[in-house]
């Protein structure tokens, strides 16, 4: 076994973990704050990927400008989705919200298949995605994975500051603590939930942008994204954003080490098995907040 190759896989795995943490950060907020699992989270990421694809491929908008256009759209989309649809089933039991978001997942997948076909797509990062910094012979760190990791750390830092130092953050934590009391003392919980979902929308847009340059996507890529994100959230501990980053890193490292040691067909399964093993030992996650 070549130790250098293993070190390389660990390094790449940590960076891949940043990507998983990016998708998981939004899910972490919806699970931690609104206390529901959005089954459509992965599909919403893919939906924004197709929005970016449309803007860049059909309207020839540069990628960064396309992201800048999509950010407010994603915030508004999250806000409206929560305010006018999800809010109606919130607090009516766990099953209703799961069914509604499952429905959204199916609608999004079929809408994308109908509109764009089943082809696999990828966005061009104009060479950025293949550039890398050489470290030693044969090992290098790609600009894109490094940027993704840095973006994940920055995004989680920003979300943490938003939740813990701003007024709207205090309101979000208050409804998360006790929504009935929040309503009783005059907070408007539907509005606060909608803002929180708007913030989730922003994380969805950022993950979609990086994801679509980093890997291929097609209309049915969503559920895979959801599964990895959900594992990262659960491993980290519900409601802990930094825990979500650690959870993402563990899964990323497990996948790439599994692929290195057992063969590439083991990559996905290795991630799931490590998740299950840690989950059995520590079902509350590594840094539980609740």
């Amino acid at each position: 076994m070549n130790p250098l190759a293993i070190a390389n896989q660990i390094l790449q795995g940590v960076l891949l973990g940043g990507l998983y943490a990016l998708f998981a950060s939004g899910l972490s907020i919806s699970v931690g704050v609104m206390r529901f699992v959005n089954i459509a989270h992965g599909d919403l990421i893919v939906l924004v990927s197709f929005l970016l694809f449309t803007l860049t491929a059909y309207f020839h908008v540069p990628l960064l400008l396309a992201v800048a256009i999509s950010l407010p759209i994603s915030f508004a989309g999250g806000y409206v989705l929560q305010r006018f649809l999800l809010q109606r089933v919130l607090g009516k039991g766990i099953l209703q919200i799961v069914l509604v978001t499952f429905g959204i997942s199916i609608i999004v997948q079929n809408f994308l298949q109908g509109t764009f076909g089943a082809d696999t797509r990828r966005l061009s990062g104009s060479g950025f995605e293949s550039a890398s910094i050489p470290l030693t012979n044969g090992i290098g760190v790609g600009y894109l994975p490094l940027t993704i990791f840095a973006a994940a750390v920055l995004l989680i830092f920003a979300l943490d500051r938003l939740l813990y130092t701003t007024r709207v953050g205090a309101h979000i934590r208050a409804v998360s603590d006790d929504v009935d009391t929040a309503n009783l003392v005059g907070l408007s919980s539907p509005r606060i939930y909608a803002i929180a979902m708007g913030v989730v929308g922003v994380t969805v847009c950022i993950s979609a942008a990086f994801m679509s340059v980093f890997a291929n996507f097609d209309p049915t890529s969503g559920p895979d994204r959801l599964l990895t994100a959900f594992e990262a959230v659960v491993l980290g501990g519900l409601g802990s954003l930094w825990g979500t980053l650690i959870g993402g890193i563990i899964i990323g490292v497990a996948q790439l080490l599994g692929a290195q040691l057992l063969g590439s067909e083991w990559q996905q399964l290795a991630g799931h098995l490590v998740f299950l093993a840690i989950f059995l030992i520590r079902p509350q996650g590594l840094f539980p907040r609740y």
């Binding site: 009783l184 003392v185 005059g186 907070l187």
Partner: protein
Amino acid sequence: MPEALLTVDALTVVYDQFRATHDIDLAVDAGEIVSVIGANGAGKSSLLKAIVGNARLASGSICFEGSDLAGKTTAQIVKAGIALVPEGRRLFPSLTVEENLQIGSSVGRPGEITLATIYEYFPALADKRRQLARELSGGQQQMVALGRALLTNPRLLLCDEISLGLAPVIVNSLYEIIPALARRGIGVLVVEQDITRSLAVADRFYCLLEGKVTLTGRPAEVSRETVMRHYFGL
């Protein structure tokens, strides 16, 4: 006589076919302390919940400063100047003391009551402003709950069982604040099971039994025996 700050007229609240209050008439003036006494299940909390828009009215009306509160959300009612100190304190446990208090300022109205006012009323809280609410003693939590309501700068303050489960010395310090609030012109509606405490502070009182007002008057003008008879329905 000028119009009362709060007028409750023939209020009936029904939950799942259970009639929690039945034709209650009640009024609170600005700067007046009104107490509502009654045993468990007499309809006291339902009355308060109805006033802040948290219970559906089966019939009757609630007017605040001359306007009907029907159809208003709790958020709108708080903005209009009614604040509730809910039963059981109900702080946000993972927020700090100061964050809990600031929830009040952000949902309420601007006015003369600020964080500094609260820390003046309850100096014990000033040192604990960065602590999480769940780490406080029951008495301190009740101070935060009262402070959170006061920071909305209410015209009318509703206190639901603020003495429940607290040591008498703490209850005294909480009840000392109430006359000071009334002197600021705030109307205070105090709901209590503790009759002695409640009647000592009140200008007027209402006694509820099984959702109905059975007796009303000024504490000084009604004998203890009469109050007890109506309280227990003997």
